[in-house]
Amino acid sequence: MNAVAEYFRNIADAVTTTIAGMKITLRYWVKEPSITVEYPDRLGPGKTAADVVADRFRGFLRLDLDKCIGCMQCMRACPINCIRITVEKTAEIRMLTRFDVNQAKCMYCGLCVEECPSNALVFSKRFEGACFNMQELCVRHVTGPVPVAKLAAVSTK
C-alpha cells in the first residue's frame, strides 16, 4: 500500500478505536453509580468502620480472660514473637500475670487464633491503630494476676 495512504489509514484507525473506547468511558461517567466510599466520614448512616469489613476480618486481637487457660500455644505459634505471656504458679493456682500483644509488630496472620484451644483469643474488627506513641499499640490484656480457666470448663471445640 501507498505509504501516505497507510499513514492516514493509521490515523483514522486510531481515531475510530479511541472513540469506541471513549464511548465506554462516557457510559460509565453518565450512567454507572459511584462506588467510592468516603472513609471515614461518610460510611453510611449509623455505620462505623467495623461494620464495613467482613465477618472474618483479621483486626486487633481480643482476649477473653474468662476463657484463657494460659497454655501459651499462641505465643509459640507466633512467627514474630509479638505475644508475651507469663504464668505464675502460686498456691496450686496458676495465675496469669502478663499477656501483652504488641499490635505494632503483629502481622495479623491468624496462626495464634487457630492454635487457641479454648477460643479465648479471637480477632476483633478493630483496625484503626493510628496513634502518636508506638507503646500505645502494645496492648496489655492483663493488669493484675488473674487465675487461669480450666480447659474442661471452657472448651468449645
Binding site: N10, D13, A14, T17, T18, A20, G21, I24, T25, I35, V53, A54, D55, R56, F57, R58, A77, C78, P79, M107, Y108, C109, G110, L111, E114, F123
Partner: protein, 374 residues
C-alpha cells in the same frame, strides 16, 4: 575532533521511578533517544526471607510466603505448602484441594489485573487501569470474606486451608467470574486492547523468540507469549489441576511479531478467562462436607530430606527448594521466582530500543520487585 561529538550517556531510571513496579533501578546507557543497554540493579527490596525461614517453624513460615509476591499471595502459599506436604508426606483432604484451587485462581486473576493494568498505566492509559482495579476490588471483598485479609491472605496451611467457604461466597464468586468472562473482558478489549494507539505502542516491541526465552529460562505467561505452550498446571500437575478442563493460551503474534509486548499483554487477558473456567468447575465439584485440614501433631516436624517443587504462579514458576534436617524448623529454603528470570532478559532485549519502549517492555514482563529480591 569535530565540533559536535556523540557520546553515550549513562542515566539512572529509578529506584523510585513510578513505572518500575516497585523499587527497581535500571542503569541506562543511551545514545540520544536510543538505548544501548539497560542494566537492572536489583536488591532494594531484599528482606532475607530465606534466612528468616531457618528460624521460624514450618507453619510459621507461611505468612512470610505471602510477602514473596504480595500481588498473588495464595499462589505463593500454595507453592510452599505443596513442597512441605510432599516432603513430609502429608495428605490433603479433597475439599481443601478445591478450596485451594479456587483461592489460587482468584488470586491469579487479581494478579493479572495488576499486571496488565499497571502496564497500561505506564503507557499513560489511566482509565483501563481503574477499570481493572475496580474488578480487583470485588476480588478483595471476596478474599476478605474467605480469609479475613485483603492483601496478605495467608489462606493455605500445611495439610489444608485455614477456613471453609463462608455462606454466600459461592454465589458471589460465581457472579464475579461470570461477569469477568462474559462482560468485563469483552468491554475491556473494546476499551483498550484493540485500540490502534496501544497496538502501535506494543506490537513489535521487545520481541522475545522462543529460543531466547528458553535460554533465559523465562517462565509463565512470558514464555507462553513466545509461543511455547508450557504450563506447570498441565505439564507437571500439582494439587488437583489435572481434573479441570482449561486451555493454555499462547502468543500468536496477532498484530506484530510472535513474542512481542502485545502478545505478553494479551495473553494475560486470555488467562483471566481460563482461570474463570477453572473456578467455575471447582465451585461445581466442590464437596459439600468433609475435612478442610489434616490434623497435624502439635510439634510438626518434617523428616530429613530435600525436595524441589515448582508451581505455576501468575508471574511464572515459583520453585521452593526445601531441605529439612528433621527439626521443627526448615534447615534451608531456596526460593526461585518467575520475576527473577524475567528480569535477567531485560538487558538482552533492551538493546537498540527507545527509552519510552523500555517502560513498555518492563511492564509487559510484569515483574514485581519483592519477588525478584525476596
Amino acid at each position: 575532533m569535530s565540533k559536535y561529538s556523540t557520546q553515550e550517556m549513562v542515566l539512572n531510571m529509578g529506584p523510585h521511578h513510578p513505572s518500575t513496579h516497585g523499587v527497581l533501578r535500571f542503569i541506562l546507557q543511551t545514545d540520544g533517544e536510543m538505548m544501548v543497554k539497560a542494566t537492572p540493579d536489583i536488591g532494594f527490596l531484599h528482606r532475607g526471607i530465606e534466612k528468616i525461614a531457618e528460624r521460624v517453624t514450618w507453619q510459621g513460615f507461611m505468612p512470610y510466603t505471602d510477602r514473596i509476591d504480595y500481588v498473588a499471595s495464595v499462589n505463593c502459599n500454595l507453592g510452599y505448602a505443596v513442597a512441605v506436604e510432599r516432603l513430609a508426606g502429608v495428605a490433603v483432604p479433597e475439599k481443601a484441594e478445591y478450596l485451594r484451587v479456587i483461592a489460587a485462581e482468584l488470586s491469579r486473576i487479581a494478579s493479572h489485573f495488576i499486571g496488565f493494568g499497571a502496564l497500561l498505566l505506564d503507557l499513560g492509559a489511566v482509565t483501563p487501569f481503574v477499570h481493572a482495579l475496580r474488578e480487583r476490588e470485588t476480588f478483595n471483598d471476596l478474599i476478605e470474606m474467605l480469609c479475613g485479609a485483603r492483601l496478605t491472605h495467608n489462606y493455605v496451611r500445611i495439610g489444608g486451608v485455614a477456613q471453609d467457604l463462608p455462606p454466600g461466597f459461592a454465589e458471589k464468586c460465581r457472579a464475579f467470574v461470570d461477569h469477568l468472562e462474559y462482560e468485563f473482558v469483552e468491554e475491556f478489549n473494546e476499551l483498550i486492547s484493540f485500540n490502534t494507539i496501544l497496538i502501535n505502542r506494543l506490537a513489535n516491541v521487545g520481541v522475545i523468540s522462543a529460543e531466547t526465552a528458553n535460554d533465559y529460562t523465562l517462565t509463565g505467561p512470558n514464555l507462553r507469549a513466545s509461543g511455547v505452550a508450557f504450563d506447570l498446571r498441565k505439564d507437571e500437575s500439582y494439587s488437583i489441576y489435572d481434573r479441570f478442563d482449561f486451555d493454555i493460551p499462547v502468543g500468536r503474534g496477532k498484530y506484530g511479531t510472535l513474542g512481542d509486548s502485545y502478545d505478553r499483554y494479551f495473553i494475560r487477558i486470555e488467562e483471566v478467562v481460563q482461570s474463570c473456567r477453572i473456578i467455575r468447575q471447582a465451585l461445581d465439584r466442590l464437596p459439600q462436607d468433609g475435612e478442610i485440614r489434616t490434623k497435624l501433631p502439635k510439634l510438626f516436624t518434617v523428616p530429613a530430606g530435600e525436595i524441589y517443587v515448582r508451581t505455576e504462579c501468575p508471574r511464572g514458576e515459583l520453585g521452593f527448594y526445601v531441605i529439612s534436617d528433621g527439626k521443627k524448623n526448615p534447615f534451608r529454603i531456596k526460593i526461585r521466582t518467575g520475576s527473577f528470570s524475567s528480569m535477567t532478559i531485560i538487558e538482552h532485549i533492551s538493546q537498540g530500543v527507545m527509552v519510552a519502549d523500555l517502560v513498555a517492555i518492563i511492564g509487559s514482563l510484569d515483574v514485581v520487585a519483592p519477588e525478584i529480591d525476596r
